[in-house]
Amino acid sequence: MRIARNWRTRQQRYSLVGEVCTQCGHKIFPPRDVCPHCTQPAQLPYALSGRGEVFSYTTMTSAPQGFEEYLPYTVALVKLEEGPMLTAQLTDVDPDEVRIGMPVEMVTRKIREDGEAGQILYGYKFRPLLERQTAT
């Protein structure tokens, strides 16, 4: 794992800090500095709520290097309520119970670690939206 690269994306991984386009108002995540909707500069930071729903998902039975020990795990496209979509792991859920359209919320979890003495990467995963929050 590359330490500086992971450090640069810390606000995105811990707090879902994206951007908002001051021209057309679209929320953007991951940040990209140019609005994909109107191609104007968009560099105003904007923290997303972390609530959304599952757009699609799959459970992995073979993993890329560094993820073998976490198998099987479920990954998803999550459509955030502010509009943007992102890619993340699902957590705290039985893979058989995941459904498209399922409401989910962001949590911060360990993504992977680089051996006993190596770096530990934390970041966003998504879990089923808890009842107490649906009630408010």
Partner: protein
């Protein structure tokens, strides 16, 4: 701009070729193409390759291969556009000849994947995706395609079994191609019983990891004459989309495939109805359905219907033959070489040299090579002289 023709083709068998190195594979394809064209020199060599740095610990392929095939001194580069590298190299060769910068260009696609352990290859293939926002979360390239397939099945209410015909057709055609990795037909039942990789994608939805190289020789059409071998490139067009699926306006629409095919149809002055055969990028069966929709052969959600009845309508004698020499699924998908294999196979068809897989009266063929999950798409349309 000058018209450009292909006057020579070459290819190695596709498979786990443990006795052949990267440079030997490229050599075999380039030498075969030069012999087929009847040439002994060239102005330039463009090499399509994705993973030589990762899997063969070798970059700088342009000079390496030019030297190794006896062309030391000429211009030579490697071109990389993930799984679209092969067609990207052809596109560069086409631009060089069409633009009058070179007269005699060799394009070679080569990939050596089977030396490395499987986990290394899985990680290397994921380099085609967005490292910071897709791959970092533990997704493989298969997983990204699984996300598309699951959504497609959900949105259009399609069962997994509906895709079987793509795989059945590819394997049926692979059986007639002596260069194909898989040369045995499969049944729809075998498709459904295959081992799961990333639900809903199983082994029979996926193209295999393999080695191979293919090459073509390009010249201005004025030079090509009207001999047996010449095939004209009517169109060469490429387009791009976001690397990450989550950044696309509509993940189930391959916008770059739409853009590049529309450009290609305009250049060639043809419509989808004029295409006699289509070598599409069936890296996964979902990609076949999405490609057919984006290139105008099916409405949204109906691309999968081409797979009905064991793929009868996409068979060699069907309405729109696809993957006529086995496609990525059965011929094999040596990633950076695939785009050149597709074009070599279209040339075989247009020359009438496709053997038992010959499409009758084939006059216009299309090849479409996709990089990543749809971020680079390159379309070529070819016609018999």
């Amino acid at each position: 701009m000058r018209d450009v023709s292909i006057i020579g083709i070459g290819q190695t068998p596709v498979g786990e070729l443990w006795d052949k190195s990267l440079r030997h594979l490229a050599h075999d394809a380039v030498v075969a193409a030069m012999r087929d064209a009847g040439i002994e020199r060239a102005d330039a060599l463009y090499v399509g390759n994705m993973l030589s740095g990762e899997l063969a610990e070798q970059e700088h392929l342009g000079a390496l291969i030019a030297d190794f095939v006896g062309l030391r001194g000429i211009e030579a580069f490697k071109i990389e556009a993930a799984c679209g590298s092969g067609a990207a190299a052809l596109r560069l060769g086409y631009m060089a000849v069409a633009g009058g910068l070179h007269d005699l260009v060799i394009v070679c696609g080569v990939e050596k994947m089977t030396d490395a352990p499987g986990a290394d290859t899985t990680s290397a293939l994921a380099l085609a995706a967005d490292q910071e926002y897709e791959v970092t979360h533990g997704l493989s390239f298969v997983a990204l395609n699984a996300l598309l397939m699951r959504r497609y099945m959900h949105e259009y209410n399609v069962p997994h079994s509906a895709f079987a015909g793509f795989s059945v057709n590819a394997h049926r055609n692979g059986a007639g191609n002596p260069n194909a990795m898989f040369q045995s037909p499969i049944t729809a039942a075998a498709y459904q019983q295959a081992a799961m990789i990333a639900d809903p994608i199983n082994l029979m939805d996926s193209s295999p990891i393999c080695d191979g190289a293919a090459a073509v020789v390009l010249v201005p059409s004025d030079w090509a004459g009207h001999g047996r071998g010449a095939v004209r490139i009517l169109a060469s067009a490429s387009a791009t989309d976001s690397l990450a699926i989550h950044d696309r306006r509509d993940p189930l629409f391959l916008e770059a495939a739409y853009l590049s095919s529309q450009k290609a149809y305009r250049q060639a002055g043809v419509t989808p109805a004029d295409i006699d055969l289509f070598e599409l990028h069936d890296a996964f069966s979902i990609m076949s359905a999405l490609s057919l929709e984006a290139t105008g052969f099916a409405r949204r959600g109906e691309g999968v219907r081409w797979a009905e009845d064991d793929g009868a309508r996409i068979a060699i004698d069907g309405e729109l033959p696809i993957s006529t020499m086995g496609g990525l699924k059965a011929r094999g998908h040596p990633v950076g070489a695939t785009g050149v294999y597709q074009v070599v196979e279209v040339v075989q068809q247009l020359r009438g040299e496709a053997g038992v897989n010959q499409v009758r009266d084939a006059r216009i063929g299309m090849a479409q090579n996709i990089g990543g999950s749809g971020a680079t798409v390159i379309t070529h349309i070819l016609a018999a002289e």
